[in-house]
């Protein structure tokens, strides 16, 4: 059969195979039985041969269905992944109405926004680095709104253009460029930016994942108040060179629903400004935290977060399938084959858990125990 459609990388993680397809940059999670039939499909030169290989295990009508199913599956896995082409656009200097400068350890960046309103998509998360005194600037960004599109420029070169409703893409691209500037990297050096928040104990790190509203950021805010450090909130960058997770300077973003839980725990919580982005999203607060000692740490475990009111704290091991289903579709993962292989290697060495919690004290002690467990492993 058509071996051009073969997955480039295959890895058995727990009870499931994870297959990676180069042309689409897609990850497919399949059962062992599915993998067996897929191998038969590629081994067979003709449909008759496929029937022969499977005839002792399946009825003829089922083999016919399987052939069709595998063929449809492979088509879905081999859809070419493309990026939209950017229309050349020249930066309009007259739109530089608001300037914010941020000073990091050895880098200063400046961002021109076309209005105060547009600055809200970036500034509150970086406010702790806001600095008006820096004169030497390493990188200049521009974020302008024009005809309901958001334009992002780096050193006057257009990087992205998205409809204003998709401003989270501008935020994500900006963070990627900021990470490259701060860590002296190129976009091609990263395996991906994982959708999750990372906490470190100074030796290793734990990546917390979960769909929006599951309490990742709330848990990280809690842990950051209890002797652990925040390495990254919402976007956790994974570098190819050492496969470590890196520091993301964005403050923890907390939705109004978690204000009451964090008020007694976070120092000066009431004094943190409320950012009102729009009526539907509601109010947000950004909790700044101390930078960890190092810029990057190896990751020991991935924990899927599940906040449930009035639940007992429970830490349990979960499958790679569940972690991948939570993580992949909200993460950017490099389309390079080498990076996809590294991602699978990286995942293979991680302990995978789910934590269900509502009690802030017991969840903190459970996570600290987990750090100790990995230190001693």
């Amino acid at each position: 059969m058509n071996t051009n459609l073969l997955p480039t990388h295959s890895r058995l993680l727990g009870e499931h195979w994870v297959l990676w397809y180069d042309i689409s940059n897609s990850y497919s999670v399949v059962t062992k039985e599915f993998k067996f039939v897929l191998e038969a499909y590629f081994k067979a030169k003709t449909k008759a041969e496929f029937f022969n290989i499977l005839s002792s295990d399946f009825d003829d009508t089922d083999i016919d269905k399987l052939h069709q199913r595998i063929s449809d599956y492979l088509q879905q896995c081999n859809i070419l992944s493309t990026l939209p082409i950017l229309k050349p656009t020249i930066l309009e200097v007259t739109k530089r109405r608001v300037l914010k400068k941020y000073k990091f350890k050895d880098k200063t960046i400046q961002v021109y926004f076309s209005s105060e309103s547009v600055s809200k998509i970036i500034h509150p998360a970086l406010a702790q680095y806001y600095n008006t005194t820096s004169n030497v600037v390493d990188v200049t960004f521009d974020i302008h709104l024009k005809d309901e599109f958001l334009y992002l420029f780096k050193d006057e070169e257009l990087i992205s253009c998205v409809p204003m409703q998709e401003y989270h893409k501008t935020q994500g691209k900006f963070i990627m460029l900021l990470l490259c500037a701060l860590h002296d990297k190129e976009e091609g050096d990263w395996i991906g930016t994982l959708h999750g928040s990372t906490i470190t104990d100074g030796n290793s790190s734990i990546l917390f994942v979960g769909k929006s509203g599951k309490g990742k950021s709330t848990l990280c805010a809690l842990l950051a108040q209890n002797g652990l450090d925040l390495l990254a909130d919402d976007v956790s960058p994974l570098l190819s060179e050492d496969q470590h997770l890196y520091y993301n300077p964005s403050a923890i973003s907390i939705k109004a629903g978690a204000f009451n839980l964090l008020k007694p725990i976070v120092t000066n919580f009431n004094k943190l400004p409320i950012v009102e982005f729009n009526k539907t999203k509601g109010q947000l607060k950004y909790i700044p935290s101390l930078k960890p000692k190092k810029e990057h740490y190896p990751c020991g475990a991935i924990v899927s977060v599940n906040y449930q009111a009035e639940s007992e704290t429970k830490l349990e091991q979960i499958s790679a399938k569940l972690i991948l289903e939570t993580l992949i579709e909200d993460s950017w993962l490099s389309p390079k084959s080498k990076h996809a292989e590294q991602f699978l290697n990286w995942l293979e060495t991680k302990q995978l858990y789910q934590i269900t919690y509502s009690n802030t004290n017991s969840v903190t002690s459970e996570i600290k125990k987990l750090f100790k467990l990995h230190q001693n492993a």
């Binding site: 497919s28 399949v30 059962t31 039985e33 067996f36 539907t280 950017w332």
Partner: protein, 57 residues
């Protein structure tokens, strides 16, 4: 001589063992295809779709 590592090969016995024909065809149907984001993004505005942001020029 280098020993061949067969740990990532699946055997027929392993795949179909303890399964009847009906169960086997059901299990074969179980797969998911996950596509990462094509470019970097932060969490979307809210679960359930994009929300019009209160941005002004």
């Amino acid at each position: 001589m280098k020993k061949e590592n067969n740990s990532d090969k699946i055997t027929r016995k392993e795949a179909i063992s303890k399964m009847g024909k009906y169960a086997a065809i059901t299990a074969v149907g179980t797969f998911v295809i996950l596509n990462p984001l094509k470019s970097q993004a932060q969490s979307p505005p809210s679960p359930g779709g994009p929300v019009f942001p209160g941005l002004e020029d």
